[in-house]
């Protein structure tokens, strides 16, 4: 086995397959038009600067930060759900101690953010933000309420499918991922340019959580499963 101490340079990370990630420029999502680079990106061989990254400790996360329904005196309005899953690298290895941060709209489709002007009610008992660290098996769990769909101004009669934003740190700065988790069967998928920006249909489907009876708690909350895969180091043929 190749030991870290004897390596002359950093072990490169595998690059995601063609079509599995969205492009920077996707005209149906209008805000990309002035914010996407148009000059060619410079292909970067991975150095230590790319394959290292911040490793967070438990001091960053409070005990109940993964329960978005208990951050206020009362219970938030909406459908209580349990979102759980695992964070893995591209070899299927679970990633323990991965920091996950989430944020979302309330059940009426309104964010607690000054720029959200959607005329839907704010919920005094819901902030819509949480964080957690994965356990030794790479597993995480959030309790929250199902977010509502909401309108946006991208095009006439544009609505975002219900989603929860996920921010995840892996072992390297280049395995950093910000994404969105969707819910099965949403009729808005076909009209949403953000979801549709991912060229590969199968890759796109990976952003849709699955209803899960096993993690559903009787008379209390439905369970949804969402596994997250982060880029991992290239496999070396000499490793077993």
């Amino acid at each position: 086995m190749d030991s870290v101490g004897t390596r002359a340079s950093a072990r490169p990370y595998a690059r995601p397959p063609e079509g599995s990630q969205p492009p920077s420029l996707y005209e149906p999502y209008r805000a990309t038009i002035k914010r996407a680079p148009l000059k060619p990106l410079v292909v970067l061989p991975h150095t230590l600067s790319e394959v290292t990254g911040p490793i967070f400790g438990h001091d960053r996360v409070g005990e109940s930060d993964n329960d978005l329904t208990c951050q206020h005196p009362g219970e938030p309005i909406g459908e209580r759900i349990i979102v759980s899953g695992r964070v893995l690298d591209s070899h299927g290895e679970p990633l323990p101690n991965a920091l996950i941060e989430i944020w979302q709209a309330n059940s009426a489709g309104r964010y607690r953010h000054i720029r959200d002007q959607h005329p839907a009610p704010l919920d005094p008992n819901f902030t819509g933000a949480g964080r957690t660290l994965t356990d030794e098996h790479g597993a995480y769990r959030f309790i929250t309420i199902k977010p509502g769909a909401y309108p946006w101004l991208n095009h006439y009669n544009a609505w975002r499918p219900a989603h929860i934003h996920f921010s995840v740190f892996g072992t390297a700065f280049i395995s950093r991922l910000v994404t969105q988790m969707y819910f099965p069967g949403d009729p808005l998928f076909a009209y949403d340019p953000i979801f549709q920006s991912i060229p590969d249909e199968r890759a796109r489907q990976r952003l849709i959580s699955k209803f899960d009876l096993e993690t559903t708690q009787p008379e209390w909350a439905k369970g949804f499963k969402f596994d997250i895969v982060l880029r991992g180091p290239e496999a070396t043929p000499f490793e077993t």
């Binding site: 990630q21 492009p23 999502y29 600067s49 990254g53 911040p54 991922l177 952003l207």
Partner: protein, 194 residues
């Protein structure tokens, strides 16, 4: 590691316009990468993010990753025979304001030498914003540093574009630097395909 297993990484989606309720709250921003006790030359770095029309991007988040003043990363993959400064993390997270700027307090990192060609002092930056379906990566080097001439990554960049990766020192205020991130246009910042 099981080399046979090959999972496709989860696709990226935009951070959107409302990330500030979690990612850049007062508690979760990390404006100060290096505390006052940190070794090294102090740097106050002002970033300015603009779009293809030169309009300030007032809803971007920047994440920074850097080595300490010895060029050592706080990470198990760093096999350099160097001492890591006690308490060094090396991570920063800042959000742009109305004028598209944000300020990072840090120190100038040392040279990372875990390869045949040592790198010049640099910060790695991830740029996130509404209208960006995935983050962009760039690097901040320090103008005037002799080591830039032999940096292996800068050599990969067409010479006429290298300047976009250089932070500029404010001649009137020692220790103050600025770095523009132009997402698009003639003076577009160099972004890396990582």
């Amino acid at each position: 590691m099981k080399p046979d297993t090959d999972l496709v990484p989860t696709p990226s989606q935009t951070v959107g316009p409302f990330f500030a309720i979690e990612l850049t709250t007062v508690e979760h921003c990390v404006q100060c990468v290096a505390g006052p006790q940190a070794e090294g030359e102090r740097v106050c770095l002002t970033f300015r993010v603009v779009d293809g029309e030169g309009v300030p991007v007032d809803d971007a988040m920047l994440e920074i990753w850097q080595a300490d003043s010895n060029g050592k990363y706080n990470h198990p993959e760093d096999a350099q025979a160097k001492k890591l400064e006690p308490g060094w993390m090396g991570f920063g997270r800042v959000a742009t304001g109305e004028d598209g700027t944000c300020v990072l307090e840090t120190i100038r990192p040392g040279r990372v030498t875990q390869s045949a060609s040592p790198q010049a002092p640099h910060l790695t930056v991830g740029v996130f914003a509404r209208g960006m379906l995935k983050q962009l990566y760039t690097r901040v080097y320090f103008a005037g540093n002799a080591a830039n001439e032999e940096d292996p990554i800068l050599q990969l960049v067409p010479s006429e574009r290298r300047g976009t990766l250089l932070a500029r020192a404010d001649p009137a205020r020692p220790g103050y630097w600025s770095f523009d991130i132009r997402l698009q246009g003639d003076l577009e910042t160099v972004f890396f395909d990582v």
